[in-house]
């Protein structure tokens, strides 16, 4: 069901004063962490400022049941806005290594608003994990067909396998599955199934029949 748009209640967009430009030396010396802080501040201002009413309404409508999906979708859109704008002036900055950390604070800010409007967040860590991972799913839907992305991902993933990052991440997922009362073997079983989807008996029978038939004819 499509609900009525609440757009008309949005407040005017006040101009924010621009700070005096910093001197060049401090800009060059600005660390990645400082730049992340600045971007995070901007996102915080946005979520708790201009977009607050919209975010609050959306979170209230989402409730506990749809909280994760809403957090993921909203965070993704906000980060998309950020990346699109920042890419115009500093394209070198717009990388996953910047946006993933930003995603964490974005999700946290949105959760703050959700809590403020009374949406229960019974298990914060679960919500944080699921929101970020759902966002990854959304992003993969967007770039999944890009061969260049795939090639880069391939290279990065190999590094993760070689340097132990994969083992750390897999260990964390296993532990968290246990914490959530799920069977950690789902990783292995699900992974195997992804690589070799179970054939149904009909298709297996047809396939075997074709093999037998071709064997008999030769």
């Amino acid at each position: 069901m499509i609900q009525q748009d609440q757009a008309n209640q949005m407040p005017a967009d006040p101009m924010q004063a621009q700070p005096a430009p910093q001197d060049q030396a401090s800009l060059i010396d600005a660390s990645d962490e400082e730049q992340l802080e600045l971007m995070a501040d901007a996102i915080s201002d946005y979520i708790h400022g201009d977009a607050r009413e919209h975010v609050a309404t959306s979170m209230a409508n989402a409730g506990e049941e749809a909280l994760v999906d809403t957090l993921a979708a909203m965070s993704y859109q906000i980060l998309t806005m950020v990346s699109d704008q920042v890419a115009k002036s500093a394209p070198e900055t717009v990388t996953l290594d910047v946006l993933l950390p930003l995603a964490t604070v974005t999700i946290d800010y949105l959760i703050e608003v959700a809590e403020a409007v009374g949406v229960p967040v019974p298990n914060m860590l679960d919500v944080q994990e699921d929101s970020l991972l759902r966002m990854i799913e959304i992003h993969m839907a967007k770039v999944g067909d890009d061969p260049e992305q795939k090639a880069i991902a391939d290279e990065m993933f190999k590094e993760y396998l070689e340097d132990g990052s994969f083992d750390d991440a897999a260990g964390y997922v296993q532990q968290r599955l246990k914490d959530r009362g799920q069977d950690p073997s789902v990783m292995e079983e699900g992974g195997k199934e992804l690589l070799a989807p179970k054939q149904n008996q009909l298709s297996a029978g047809v396939q075997q029949g074709l093999i037998d038939q071709s064997g008999g004819m030769s």
Binding site: D5, S83, T95, L100, A141, A169
Partner: protein
């Protein structure tokens, strides 16, 4: 666009205190699952795994599948990666090349095919049509890299369709439509101080040639004069009142879409 994935690990190490402690392992999981999933099982695989095993279980399955596929190409095996290799009977399979792995159908998402779970679909609980839909597009940005980037429609059972520019609509149980028209400008303005600094640093780091370029980053007048006119929400030409937050053509009111001296 080539920067989208590259540097994840480097960046994750550099974020230091910025990322809260509880988030750090999740970030690593996200990076590993994203790269592993993208490299091997693809979106259909990830989506199917999530539908079958929940988000965390699906992510874990995708990681495992990615490792199992990839181990055939790099031949390592220790810890969880070793577990994946052993489970696939591939531990120490250093002789298997990438091509061989693909020929076996291990590394090609096309050959693996979408699992049945993907067809069953993951219910999109609570749909969201949010602010700044036009920002979904835009080449060269991390999250808007696809040539078709922009419209993402998640309808009902497990389908995600990309088309056109600038809309993100998730339709499921309880759709929320949000009109934060003008909020794009709000974020833009919020980002302005950062952009000025980042742009300055970028120019400083890119040498004299680029530093000589005009300093008006993006060619933007932050006062908003002379750029895309604001259109009130709910204008009569909206095809669908439910997505009235989006304007035809996917442009976001308040988004400054100026000519850029950098061609960006």
């Amino acid at each position: 666009m080539s920067k989208i994935v590259k540097g994840v690990k480097k960046g994750l190490k550099k974020v230091g205190k910025f990322v809260k402690k509880n988030w750090k392992p999740i970030l690593m999981v996200a990076a590993v699952a994203f790269t592993g999933g993208l490299a091997t099982v693809g979106f259909a695989g990830l989506q199917g795994a999530i539908a079958a095993n929940g988000i965390l279980g699906g992510i874990g399955s995708t990681m495992f599948a990615g490792a199992t596929s990839m181990l055939g190409t790099i031949g390592i095996g220790s810890g969880a990666a070793g577990t994946a290799a052993a489970a696939a009977g591939m531990q120490g399979a250093t002789l298997m090349t990438g091509a061989a792995a693909q020929a076996m159908g291990l590394a090609s998402s096309g050959l693996i095919g979408p699992p049945t779970a993907a067809q069953a679909g993951s219910a999109s609980v609570g749909a969201y049509t949010g602010p700044g839909s036009s920002f979904m597009g835009g080449g060269g940005s991390l999250l808007g890299g696809s040539s078709q980037a922009g419209q993402m429609v998640q309808q009902g059972a497990g389908q995600m369709v990309q088309q056109g520019a600038g809309q993100m609509v998730q339709q499921g149980a309880g759709q929320m439509t949000g009109g934060s028209q003008g909020t794009g400008g709000g974020l833009l303005k919020s980002l302005a101080p950062w952009a000025i600094q980042a742009g300055g640093a970028y120019l400083a780091n890119r040498g004299q040639e680029e530093a000589d370029r005009p300093k008006g980053l993006w060619g933007v007048d932050f006062n908003g004069d002379g750029f895309e006119a604001y259109q009130p929400w709910g204008a009569p030409n909206y095809a669908n009142p439910g997505i009235a937050a989006m304007r035809p053509g996917g442009r976001m009111p308040g988004l400054i879409d100026a000519w850029s001296p950098y061609g960006g």
